[in-house]
């Protein structure tokens, strides 16, 4: 049995290449595929993207600080992933609807989150930190991958409504192993639903390196399901935006789903409960620090003389303001009263729960000296 079999496709495809527009040094690289998608992005817009990323990093740092100070139960930092989140989220139209995971602070920021929205869930006040209808963003999802199917269902609704909208879902590299995420690709492809999958490959799923989920580029899976995909440098905000514009345009034009893998890195711990020194090398971290998405765009703007010290200082001040508002909103939160545990379980009256609530109210009343 000697002959070399040529399987259907070579698994070790030439996928190591990620699409790029800005090199790590901030120098622009021509990209014939993507350039046209961002040819309208001028210096002012680049500064706006930069500002977004700086503010996001500040929000993230504030979240960590609030957690360390006991104000939040937990925080899932997104430091390092600013370009992915801002670049893609800024491409999404207002009428689109987003189904994110727990790490998408930058996405709810870009969708117009109020200061308290970032912390309400992590503080343990409510199940969802923001009003989904207001932001057109579903609650941050904790069950890995579950939201990808919701996005597909929503997109099917869009298609049947004939609306000019797209559903977008975010998930991690680890999530790609879940059955749900694969079923989501299958349903999306089968229904040619207008949904964009955004996989943030930040190299880690808690302590597990991405190679445990996939030894091949994740974006290479989508085509097998009939979904075109791009693999982009997730620390290049322009590439992320361009790729997302491509994907959204694809979905919006009725051609069905599209898939983006943004290759980035989680600079912080998985959450504030995690200790990444137990499982990863400092050298790896240092390597990625040199690919910092904010520094990269700064270098680009500085080289073009489009970012002054004053502008930088103003941006930092704006970021501090947002952080201050976030902290104030957090510290100012009041916890709902005990009987609120019964609120919102059902949309309609429920005899069983009404009785439990009454009994619990009677029990609580004993502490008031009332009977």
């Amino acid at each position: 049995m000697s002959p070399q079999i040529t399987p259907i496709a070579d698994t070790a495809q030439d996928l190591e290449l990620t699409e790029r527009i800005l090199g790590p040094d901030g120098i622009r690289i021509p990209n014939p595929q993507l350039d046209a998608y961002i040819d309208d992005v001028d210096a002012a817009q680049l500064r706006a993207l930069h500002r977004d990323m700086v503010i996001l990093r500040r929000i993230d740092a504030e979240g960590v600080a609030l957690q360390r100070q006991g104000q939040l139960g937990l925080w899932a930092p997104c430091q390092g992933q600013e370009a992915t989140q801002i670049g893609t989220a800024r491409a999404i139209a207002p009428q689109d609807y987003v189904f994110p995971s727990y790490r998408e602070t930058g996405v709810i920021y870009a969708r117009g989150a109020a200061p308290g929205d970032y912390v309400r869930m992590w503080r343990g006040e409510e199940g969802a930190g923001h009003d989904p209808a207001a932001l057109r963003v579903a609650p941050l999802q904790i069950i890995i991958g579950a939201q990808t199917l919701h996005a597909v269902g929503y997109a099917l609704g869009i298609k049947h409504d004939g609306a000019d909208e797209v559903a977008v879902t975010y998930f991690g590299d680890g999530a790609t192993s879940q059955g749900d995420v694969n079923e989501a690709m299958i349903f999306a492809s089968s229904y040619q639903a207008p949904v964009v999958f955004v996989c943030q490959n930040n190299h880690w799923a808690i302590s597990e390196p991405v190679a445990l989920q996939s030894q091949y580029p994740i974006a290479g899976r989508a085509p097998g399901f009939g979904i075109p995909s791009l693999r982009v440098d997730g620390n290049d905000v322009l590439a992320c935006m361009a790729a997302m514009r491509w994907a959204l345009a694809h979905a919006r034009s009725g051609k069905g789903p599209a898939y983006i893998e943004a290759v980035t890195y989680r600079m912080g711990p998985h959450t504030t409960a995690d200790d990444p020194t137990r499982y990863r090398d400092n050298a790896e971290l240092e390597q990625w620090r040199r690919r910092d998405p904010i520094t990269r765009l700064e270098a680009h703007l500085r080289a073009a003389d489009e970012l002054s010290d004053e502008q930088l200082a103003e941006t930092q001040a704006a970021a501090d303001d947002v952080a201050r508002e976030m902290r104030a909103a957090c510290l100012g939160m009041t916890t709902r009263p005990p009987l609120a545990v019964f609120d919102g379980v059902y949309a309609e009256p429920h005899t069983g729960l009404a009785r439990q609530r009454d009994e619990y109210a009677a029990y609580l009343a004993t502490f008031d000296g009332e009977v």
Partner: protein
């Protein structure tokens, strides 16, 4: 009134719900051209088209997750799970998403999803085709659970379930799909009794027999047989398994003082345990003997040739009635 089988009554209920509200969409395996393996959705694809009667890829988690997304968009999805034993792959989406999203969002996101499940045994089927998983959903806060036992109920409750803004797990006793009964197809939901009410199907004074689904007819037969022995049984069809209508149940128990709760599902932490614990809490001083359970054994559903030794039948019900009435029974021996 029209005479319909339970299966046809369900189909009529779906049709009416789809006519009443164009946000109602159906999802499931083989529900389109085939009309479902039980033909419940027969004709609906023709009437409403492929945008509303949606054949899905073969993946239950995918189906329910897609329904959640449609609910986010304001649709009212009705999911068909092909057989009871195939609901488990969707368990995570049901328990962690469908049941919790309304609570998670403090009521901002509604999940008016109905999950229809052809249900339970007695049809000589292969493994996984005769499961009684209702207790899993009864134990899951955020869901409502309905089990129907006749065509009229089926038609009305299914429409009510679909119209409800809460998620409903809807159990259809598949061995009754061909049973016939009178249905008022023009009945308006506005006049109907609320979805959560139990129903006293037969009044009696000596003991209360509580059950639901296909076992309701066994219970009625038991009441007939008991009558021949001079025993008067009250028979209650729970209809809603979550919440249980304990007002009706307690009223009966206060009258009879003796209770048998029966179901096909296995016993440990099943619905009968719940009903008995609640009855005991509410009616302890009225009880004249220990409430008893007649259930499937705590075994996986057995192969078809043995299912009759698993499913509670008339004789097992009567034996339990004898026990709660302190008459000779299988445990005391004939001459106790």
């Amino acid at each position: 009134m029209t005479e319909l089988t339970l299966g046809k009554a369900l189909g009529a209920g779906l049709r009416q719900a789809m006519r009443d509200d164009d946000k109602v969409v159906l999802l499931g395996e083989d529900i389109g051209k085939l009309g479902g393996v039980f033909r419940i959705t027969d004709g609906l694809l023709d009437e409403f088209g492929a945008k509303r009667v949606i054949d899905t890829p073969l993946a239950e988690s995918g189906i329910v997750g897609t329904a959640v997304g449609l609910a986010f968009r304001g649709y009212r999805p009705v999911v068909e799970i092909q057989f009871d034993g195939f609901v488990y792959p969707a368990f995570d989406q049901i328990v962690a998403q469908v049941a919790k999203l309304h609570y998670r969002t403090q009521g901002r996101v509604r999940m008016p999803i109905t999950i229809r499940i052809p249900w339970a045994g007695g049809i000589g089927a292969a493994e996984h085709h005769s499961e009684s998983p209702e207790a899993y959903f009864v134990h899951t806060a955020g869901l409502r659970v309905i089990a129907v036992s006749n065509p009229e109920d089926a038609y009305r409750s299914l429409r009510q379930a679909i119209a409800s803004d809460d998620p409903v797990i809807f159990f259809e006793p598949k061995r009754l799909y061909h049973h016939k009964g009178e249905v008022d197809l023009d009945a308006s939901l506005a006049d109907a009794p609320p979805m959560g009410l139990a129903r006293v199907l037969r009044e009696g004074t000596d003991a209360t027999l509580i059950t639901y689904g296909a076992m309701v007819s066994t219970a009625l037969q038991a009441a007939d047989a008991a009558e021949d022995d001079g025993i008067s049984l009250e028979v209650i069809d729970l209809r809603s398994l979550s919440p249980v209508d304990y007002d009706s149940v307690a009223a009966s128990v206060r009258k009879t003082g003796r209770v048998v709760v029966a179901h096909e599902a296995s016993r440990e932490a099943g619905v009968a345990a719940e009903v008995i614990a609640s009855i005991t809490e509410r009616c302890f001083e009225y009880l004249e003997s220990a409430p008893l359970r007649v259930t499937g054994h705590d075994i996986p559903y057995p192969p078809a040739k043995l299912e009759k030794y698993h499913l509670p039948d008339l004789d097992r019900l009567l034996d339990a009635v004898d026990r709660v009435l302190d008459r000779p029974n299988s445990l005391t021996g004939a001459d106790a």
